[in-house]
C-alpha cells in the first residue's frame, strides 16, 4: 500500500470553486492566512461567496481583495475591527455580516468537521449574539444551540505538507486552519514547503491528509506574508 498524490496547481485547485460557494479561510491576522489561494480566487473572480473567517484581514490585504472586488455576499466572522473598509461595506449593507463569539465560531467549524450537528453552550446566552438562536433546556439551564458549520471549500495555509495532504503549521498560524481543514467538502491547502511522503513524520502531522483534497506548493512568498510594519 502507498498513499495517493493530491498535489496540483493553484489554478486547478481554485477552479473547483463555484459562484455562490461557502468558503472557509484560515488565519488570524497575517499568520495562517492563505494569501496566494485568496489572490487566485480574486483572479478567477467567483462571485456571491459566503466567507467564514476569524477576521476580515486589513484593508488592502487578504480577503479584503475579495470584498473590494464585489465577490463577497456574506461574512461569518468574529471581529472585523482592523478592516475599516469591511466595516464601511457592512454599515452600507453592501455585505451581510454574521458575528460569532471567537471560540464559538471555532467550535461550530469543529463540529462540522467532527460530523456533529450542533453544540449546546451557555456562551453569549445573555447577549445580542443569542438573538434568533434555538434554545434548549438541560437540567434547568437555558443553553444555545450553536449549529455546526461546514463549507463547500476550505482554504488552508500550512508551513509544511506532503503530497497526501498531511499538514503541519508554524507558531500561531494554526489558529482556524486546523478546524477548517476538517470541515469542508473540498479542502485546499497551500504549503510553504511540499516534500515527498515521509517529509512529515507520523508524529509531526497536525492535519491528517485524509481530510485534505488538494495540496498546492507555494513558490516565493508575496509581501502579504511578511511582517506588518506599523
Amino acid at each position: 500500500m502507498r498513499l495517493s498524490d493530491k498535489s496540483t496547481t493553484i489554478e486547478a485547485a481554485i477552479a473547483g470553486i463555484a459562484d455562490g460557494a461557502t468558503v472557509m479561510v484560515g488565519g488570524f491576522g497575517v499568520p495562517g492566512t492563505p494569501f496566494a489561494l485568496i489572490q487566485e480566487l480574486r483572479r478567477q473572480g467567483q462571485k456571491d461567496l459566503t466567507l467564514i473567517k476569524n477576521d476580515a484581514n486589513e484593508a488592502g490585504m487578504g480577503i479584503d481583495h475579495l470584498i473590494a472586488g464585489g465577490q463577497v455576499r456574506k461574512l461569518i466572522v468574529t471581529h472585523i475591527g482592523l478592516n475599516p473598509h469591511a466595516v464601511a461595506r457592512m454599515n452600507n449593507a453592501e455585505i451581510e455580516v454574521e458575528f460569532c463569539a471567537q471560540g464559538i465560531l471555532a467550535e461550530r467549524i469543529r463540529a462540522g468537521g467532527a460530523g456533529l450537528q450542533a453544540i449546546l453552550t451557555d456562551i453569549g446566552v445573555d447577549t445580542d449574539l443569542a438573538q434568533g438562536k434555538q434554545v434548549v433546556e438541560m437540567n434547568g439551564r437555558r443553553l444555545l444551540v450553536e449549529t455546526a458549520l461546514r463549507a463547500d471549500v476550505a482554504l488552508i495555509h500550512a508551513a509544511r505538507a506532503d503530497p497526501f495532504g498531511n499538514l503541519a503549521y508554524a507558531a500561531t498560524a494554526r489558529n482556524f486552519n486546523v478546524a477548517m481543514a476538517m470541515a469542508a467538502a473540498r479542502v485546499i491547502a497551500e504549503a510553504e514547503t511540499l516534500g515527498p511522503l515521509g517529509t512529515l513524520s507520523a508524529e509531526a502531522v497536525e492535519t491528517p491528509g485524509a481530510f485534505v483534497d488538494h495540496v498546492v506548493a507555494l513558490g516565493a512568498l508575496s509581501e502579504e506574508y511578511g511582517i506588518v510594519r506599523r
Partner: protein, 217 residues
C-alpha cells in the same frame, strides 16, 4: 482459513478502489489487505488513531505504542499520521471514510445491520462500530452466509439490537456476493461450486436471482 473463505476475502479486496480511505473491521475484513498489490494507492484508517497502516510486525520488532484497533502490532508507511480518538472519529463521522468492511451477526434486506450485541449472551459494548456503520460512505459486510448452527444471517429483519439502520449496501459471504437494493437482497455473484438455489436456501429472506449468467469468484 477454508478455501471458500479465502476466496471471499480475495473477492472483497476488489471493493477497494485506488485513492480510497478505508476502515477494515476486526477479524476477517483485516485480511483483505493481503490481496492488495504492494503499490496499491489506499489509505487504511484505524480508529485508535492512525491513517496509513503498514504491515503487521512480529513481537520482536513491534513498537509497544503502535497497534491497530484490534490490538495487532502494526507499522507505518511514508505519509502515515497519528492522531487522537477525537480526530479519528471526526474523520469517520464527517464522511471522509470512503469504505468500511464490517463483520455481522445479522443483515436485513433493507440494509439494517446488527453486529454488536446478543442480549443475555454477548454485550461487551459497540466500540466504534456504530459510527463506522452509520457514517462511512459505503458500508460493506463480510460474513459467513450462515451461522455455526446453519441458521441464515441474511434476514428479512434483524432480531438483534441494531448497529445502524439501512446502512449496508453489499455483502460478501463464503457463498455469494449479495447487493442490497430498494427491493431487498439481490444475488450478484456465486462462490465456485455454489448454486443460486443453495444461496436461496441459505438466505432467510427473499433474494432476487438474475436471469442471466451469474459470475463466480
Amino acid at each position: 482459513m477454508s478455501d471458500a473463505r479465502s476466496r471471499m476475502v480475495a473477492r472483497a479486496a476488489r471493493e477497494i478502489r485506488p485513492g480510497m480511505v478505508v476502515n477494515l473491521g476486526i477479524g476477517l475484513p483485516t485480511k483483505v489487505v493481503n490481496h492488495l498489490p504492494a503499490d496499491f494507492p489506499v489509505c487504511l484508517h484505524s480508529e485508535n488513531g492512525l491513517t496509513g497502516i503498514g504491515p503487521t510486525l512480529p513481537d520482536e520488532t513491534a513498537d509497544r505504542n503502535l497497534i491497530d484497533a484490534g490490538g495487532a502490532y502494526v507499522s507505518t508507511i511514508p505519509g502515515s499520521a497519528f492522531f487522537d480518538s477525537v480526530v479519528s472519529f471526526s474523520l469517520v463521522r464527517s464522511g471522509r471514510l470512503d469504505l468500511t468492511l464490517l463483520g455481522a451477526f445479522e443483515v436485513a434486506g433493507n440494509g439494517d445491520l446488527a453486529n454488536w450485541k446478543i442480549p443475555g449472551k454477548f454485550s461487551p459494548g459497540a466500540g466504534g462500530a456504530i459510527e463506522l456503520a452509520q457514517k462511512a460512505r459505503r458500508v460493506v459486510v463480510m460474513t459467513t452466509h450462515v451461522d455455526r448452527k446453519g441458521n441464515p444471517k441474511l434476514l428479512a429483519a434483524c432480531s438483534l439490537p441494531l448497529t445502524a439502520r439501512g446502512c449496508v449496501v453489499r455483502i460478501y459471504t463464503d457463498m455469494a456476493v449479495v447487493d442490497i437494493t430498494e427491493a431487498g437482497f439481490a444475488l450478484c455473484e456465486l462462490a465456485e461450486g455454489v448454486s443460486a438455489a443453495d444461496v436461496r436456501a441459505a438466505t432467510g429472506a427473499p433474494i432476487a436471482i438474475p436471469d442471466t449468467a451469474i459470475p463466480t469468484f
